[in-house]
């Protein structure tokens, strides 16, 4: 590369990096200012000691775990079956898994509120527990594109047909094949999808707020309207959570090819 273009590359890169780093630094600095005249972690302490933080965060973690379980139960057998027996159906399934990127979350939840009210055939919204279930379902739909792509990529690296036939020869049933042969082989891919789902779900605002559930996203919004320094602390905590999820995916992806292709 010529000297001139390298200069431009550094310039573009420097300006871009400044744009991305400055808000993080500024937010962090702001979050330390709660105590007058000196830096302190008071804002973080006040966040962690807030019982509402603890309950809403726990609620969202539980919802995220159920979302991941539902996503895995739904996606792994389907993606496996599509690869094994119904490859013609693959474009249809791919199209459906992309729909949640086309239909905004707010429209999906609006549809739920209209369709699953107390007087409907499936009255999810009649009880609080039912609404929790509907929230998990909604999040599973939001995470569907990411979960499906992750699992499908994982399945691509293993020989699904041979593994299945080998297991059948040894007398395994379908449940055994999926739970004890396929799932362990695509575990890394499934975990990648799981962490991405977690990152998406943990601070989600729109669905949780419109379904009136006590989740972390609506709590964040409420804190933002009512206090000065805690929102910055929460922004840093949220960024750290997202960063943690993405780093775990990166670390896992390093193990992926070896474990997925292990011959024995």
């Amino acid at each position: 590369m010529k000297q001139g273009s390298r200069f431009w590359a550094w310039l573009v890169f420097g300006v871009g990096t400044a744009y991305f780093i400055l808000p993080l630094l500024a937010t962090f600095e702001f979050s330390l200012r709660k105590r007058r005249g000196e830096y302190s972690f008071d804002a973080y302490r006040s966040v962690f000691e807030d019982p509402n933080f603890q309950t809403t965060f726990t609620y969202s973690v539980v919802v995220a775990v159920f979302t991941i379980l539902l996503g895995v139960l739904l996606v792994v057998p389907t993606a496996y079956w599509i690869r094994l027996r119904l490859p013609n159906l693959r474009p249809v399934v791919e199209f459906i898994t992309l729909l949640p990127l086309v239909i905004p979350a707010i429209v999906i939840v609006f549809g739920y509120i209209r369709m699953f009210g107390s007087n409907s055939a499936l009255p999810f919204l009649a009880t609080a527990r039912g609404t929790d279930v509907l929230l998990v379902i909604g999040y599973a739909v939001l995470a569907l594109p990411y979960m499906y792509r992750a699992v499908d990529t994982g399945l691509r690296t293993i020989d699904v047909r041979t593994l299945t036939e080998a297991a059948q020869i040894l007398g395994a049933g379908w449940t055994t094949i999926i739970a004890r042969i396929i799932l362990p082989n695509v575990l890394i891919a499934v975990l990648s999808g799981a962490f991405l789902s977690f990152a998406i779900v943990i601070g989600e605002f729109t669905m949780a707020s419109l379904l009136n559930r006590p989740a972390f996203g609506p709590y964040l919004q409420n804190i933002g309207a009512n206090s000065a320094y805690e929102p910055s602390a929460l922004a840093i905590i949220s960024f750290a959570i997202t960063w943690g999820c993405m780093s775990l995916i990166q670390i896992l992806s390093r193990f992926a090819p070896r474990s997925a292709n292990r011959p024995n």
Partner: protein, 302 residues
């Protein structure tokens, strides 16, 4: 639940191709849970909304709701939404492409490239309420950058007309997830530019500018346009960031719809469905263009 239907399939017919004629319908049992789920929790709710958009309160079919979308407040909401989405998508795409090209082709150290991609993966998912908090802490009226600019450089951006709660404030905030999303999606396309093409162009006597104008830009163009419309749809459906930043006052479609779902502020549920229908049409069109452009782009990415 998926497993049980599959074991049924298996117990009826353990893999022998000769009897496949009898098994054919049972094959479908394996994907039934998925299709039932998608139908009940994705397709039917959406179709129900769309149908509602074409009905009046009595349940008769009508175009009144669609026509009512042209009332000044809603038309303005669509206009502002489209403007915000378009400007943030166009700027995000241009800046993202520049950064991707700089990181991949600019002769920067290779660790910067992987650091950029990792950070982009994080930042493209760092949207919503916390992102709004960050920008308020940075560029709000008492934000760190606002105060620094005022005290050190003597520039009071708020007296110059800037506000983080305004159109450009929102754009600046949206770019924080738009640029990284562009970098994540476009980097494979930039990677697909083969070294041989540059060498071939140089052999034929092309200048650097000619190489860019006649090779790089035509090859990247479909990916660029495709990703831009994807960014457009991404911004158009975003609720949380805008809501946390400006509250319910900002007149954009997702926030109007949010207020409508909360409390029927339009006093007409069916008009609310029409509002949602309008959103689906716009994001649907954007994604259709994305698929078309992407198909065109894949030619070069083999």
């Amino acid at each position: 639940m998926a497993d049980s239907t599959m074991s049924q399939t298996a117990s009826v017919s353990p893999g022998a191709p000769e009897i496949s004629r009898f098994r054919l319908p049972l094959h479908w049992l394996g994907v039934t849970p998925f299709f039932v789920f998608a139908l009940v929790f994705l397709i039917l709710p959406t179709v129900g909304l769309i149908a509602g958009a074409f009905k009046n309160a009595a349940g008769d079919y009508t175009f009144d709701n669609i026509i009512a979308l042209s009332q000044p407040k809603l038309a303005a909401a669509y206009l502002v939404s489209i403007q915000i989405s378009f400007v943030s998508a166009a700027l995000g795409a241009l800046i993202g492409l520049a950064m991707a090209v700089a990181a991949v082709r600019g002769g920067l150290p290779s660790w910067l490239r992987s650091a950029t991609l990792t950070f982009s993966g994080v930042a493209s998912n760092f949207a919503g309420v916390p992102l709004a908090f960050s920008f308020i802490a940075t560029l709000g009226r008492l934000g760190v950058a606002t105060i620094l600019l005022r005290d050190i450089f003597g520039i009071n951006i708020y007296s110059l007309g800037f506000s983080i709660f305004s159109f450009w404030g929102l754009i600046l905030t949206y770019l924080y997830f738009q640029i990284p999303l562009m970098i994540v999606i476009i980097t494979p396309a930039v990677d697909g530019l083969k070294k041989e093409w540059g060498e071939a162009a140089a052999t034929l006597g092309a200048t650097n500018w000619q190489y860019w104008r006649m090779v790089v830009i035509p090859v990247l163009w479909p990916s660029f346009l495709g990703t831009t419309v994807l960014l457009f749809a991404n911004a158009f459906g975003a609720v949380a960031t805008a809501y946390a930043l400006t509250g319910p006052s900002l007149n954009i479609v997702p926030i109007q719809l949010f207020a409508q779902i909360r409390g029927d502020v339009l006093y007409n549920p069916n008009l609310g469905y029409a509002l949602a229908f309008g959103m689906i049409v716009i994001t649907g069109l954007a994604n259709l263009f994305y698929i078309l452009f992407q198909r065109r782009a894949e030619r070069w990415l083999k």
